[in-house]
């Protein structure tokens, strides 16, 4: 559980630090007169904060899985499993998908919507390719007789890759909605700002899932 504990300590530390910074040296009992009212909200779009909180939840989920993985790994019946080489290709594809989304984000900041469209299509295609590649890796393992019950390492492999792919599917829903908005046409400035925000959120989420995947993959290599 030490992985989870370190993760939680960092996260709770951040929450506590942020809260203390906003609550220390404040005199809550003092009333404010009319001229001084401030808006003390976090000055970010709600969706951005929500994505941050959601990524914290997902990170918590995976850190718990990693804890379970390392505890289970220390038990007697753990056997290493063969990692299909295909996983290296898939990792490369996911990195490229992340790069493509970063490209889209940069282009969106410059307002060059044609490039955003191209980059978003490439990112989507690469992501689908990654998920298909993961499925092929599953098929390879099953064909060689390494399904879930064969070995706890396999069970974790299927479970973790499956969950990671599910989170990517969720991302693809957001990707689809952003693309639909993008292709519906860009007229007003408000619409452009919305698209820019959505592309940014997609890019951040993809980078996040890439980091998660890299951590998971390095764990699986070390069975």
């Amino acid at each position: 559980m030490s992985v989870t504990l370190v993760f939680m300590a960092v996260l709770m530390g951040m929450v506590a630090f942020w809260l203390l910074r906003h609550t220390i040296n404040v005199r809550p009992w003092a009333a404010e007169s009319r001229g001084n009212l401030i808006n003390s909200n976090i000055q970010l779009p709600a969706t951005k904060i929500a994505l941050g909180v959601f990524m914290a939840v997902v990170a918590s989920l995976f850190s718990l899985f990693i804890s379970a993985y390392s505890i289970r790994m220390s038990l007697a019946d753990w056997r290493p499993m063969p990692e299909p080489d295909l996983l290296w290709v898939n990792t490369g594809i996911l990195v490229l998908a992340s790069v493509a989304l970063q490209w889209a984000w940069n282009a969106a900041n410059k307002g060059r919507m044609e490039i955003v469209k191209r980059a978003m299509s490439i990112a989507g295609a690469l992501t689908v390719a990654f998920v298909l590649g993961q499925y092929l890796a599953w098929e390879q393992l099953i064909a060689t007789g390494y399904f879930m019950t064969a070995n706890p390492a396999n069970a974790f492999f299927f479970l973790l890759t499956g969950l990671h792919a599910l989170h990517l599917f969720g991302g693809l829903v957001a990707w689809y909605r952003t693309s639909a908005r993008l292709w519906r046409g860009v007229g007003e400035t408000a619409e452009i700002a919305k698209i820019r925000l959505n592309v940014e959120l997609c890019a951040v989420y993809w980078h996040f899932l890439l980091v998660i995947w890299l951590i998971l993959f390095s764990l699986m290599l070390n069975t």
């Binding site: 609550t23 009333a31 808006n39 909180v53 939840v57 718990l64 019946d77 706890p152």
Partner: protein, 602 residues
Amino acid sequence: MVQAAHDATSFVAPLEVEEEELYHAKTFIGKYIWSQDAKVIAIQYAVTAIAIGLVALVLSVIMRLQLGFPDTFDFITPSNYLQFVTMHGMIMVIYLLTALFLGGFGNYLIPLMCGARDMVFPYVNMVSYWVYLAAVLLLVASFFVPGGPTGAGWTLYPPQAISPGTPGADAGIIMMLVSLALFIVGFTMGGLNYVVTVLQARTRGMTLMRLPLTIWGIFMATVLALLAFPALFVSAIMMTLDRLLGTSFFMPAMVSMGEQTAYDGGSPILFQHLFWFFGHPEVYIVALPAFGIVSDLLATHARKCIFGYRMMVWAIVAIGALSFVVWAHHMYVSGMNPYFGFFFATTTLIIAVPTAIKVYNWVLTLWRGNIRLTVPMLFAIGFIFTFINGGLTGLFLGNVTVDLPLSDTYFVVAHFHMVMAVSPILVVFGAIYHWYPKITGRMLNDTLGKAHFWITFIGTYTIYYPMHYLGFEGLPRRYYAYGDTAFMSDSAQALNSFITVAACIVAVAQILFIWNLISSLRNGKPSGPNPWEATTLEWQTPDTPPKHGNFGENLPLVYRWAYDYSVPGAVEDFIPQNVPPEDVPTARTDDPTAAPAEGQPA
């Protein structure tokens, strides 16, 4: 939507964050069934949670009937008994308390108390409720499948939970695990809303340190829940796979029903770690909103500012952070390393410090207050008593050496029922009596309310105090019948019967409450907008009950904290949060030595 401004002449900074566009439903179904209004969703959550809670109440009465009068009721078999124990615990902790505090009170109070028009993602909020309802229905459905619901105890420990011979090991346990996973998915949608709304959608002037403690409690509990529920999710998924696909995450090699099972090498202790990594923060997920709400009830009905507001806020944050490092005190008997046990005993005792600070501050808030013994106040004071009693036995059980002999006895049952069942439920009752006038525009009946309080309060003591003695004697929990055992004195059975009678009386008395809720909808005395003369924003809405959008044309502006009660010099004994200092009527405006209307130290 119109820009928020108190009046045209006063200067206020412009809104930096775009005001949200509300979805305006036009049909009846859009307004009340598939509603995106947080207030309607709150009521949907609350009604569902209370309904399923009543089922769990009936289950507890059946359990008590068996324990008090064994060999009397033919319809209670040993399997049934275990199933009722399990379902009672699971429903009460998760489907009632968590859902009611966060989904019910959270949805109703967060937008109103923060001065927002609604949650920031109303659509996601709506989906959250329907997923929760699906989880509840799946849970209820497990009563009707072959084999019935799971009887593994609410902790669902493997290998027992999914081994043949345990009630509900076929379908019941799977439905339980899937229902929990659904609940967590639904909660995460709601939880994102609660957190982001508090962080981002407060009205102007509502700084973090002007938030009512209710919001602080719900906010921190939501943070805990968002981070802790994944642990339950992880264990639910892995156990489902163990059960359905035959993996061995948790299942060790074992002989079951005379046959070697296919499982090999899994770790039941791993499940316990994951479960309690969720399970202990869960205690505070239920307790922190109760702490927050009770603080506001005490301040409002004692007409005094809460004692040590900042300390109360930091205590909530500290309890939240510490609650992640105490989980293994539920596992002292699992054969852990003594140093490990020492560590967890220490952290467990440390968490008593911020908790004690809160208790002292509640008592000091009452001290020399102008106490109005209204029904919500009675429940709030009842909470302080019950929480102290339950908390003190927690100090015993937190120590490894004391816990070992008391583990799995009725002492533990008495402890956690006092501290995390009865205490939060008393706050739930208090909060419903307090906010019902805002939700419906009518007061609840006072006489019925007082009767309900005294029967419930005294009743719970007659139920749970004797259980401590039974625990000392070593009476194990979760047993269907005790028969003749050497260590049990003859009077133990008499005590058990006594507890059962008390439990039945308390359970029946809840009809008073339900009847009060229903009949007051029509017959209750009209309450007006602010019957308790409270300061927080929800009592300052232009309409009671508040309409869609909460605050009419202009959002309120907040000039002060939520605890300006009995301010020296002011004419009235409360100043609402949206009244600027310039507008506070003072007693003698012509006297230059009169005390200022603001800024009394806390």
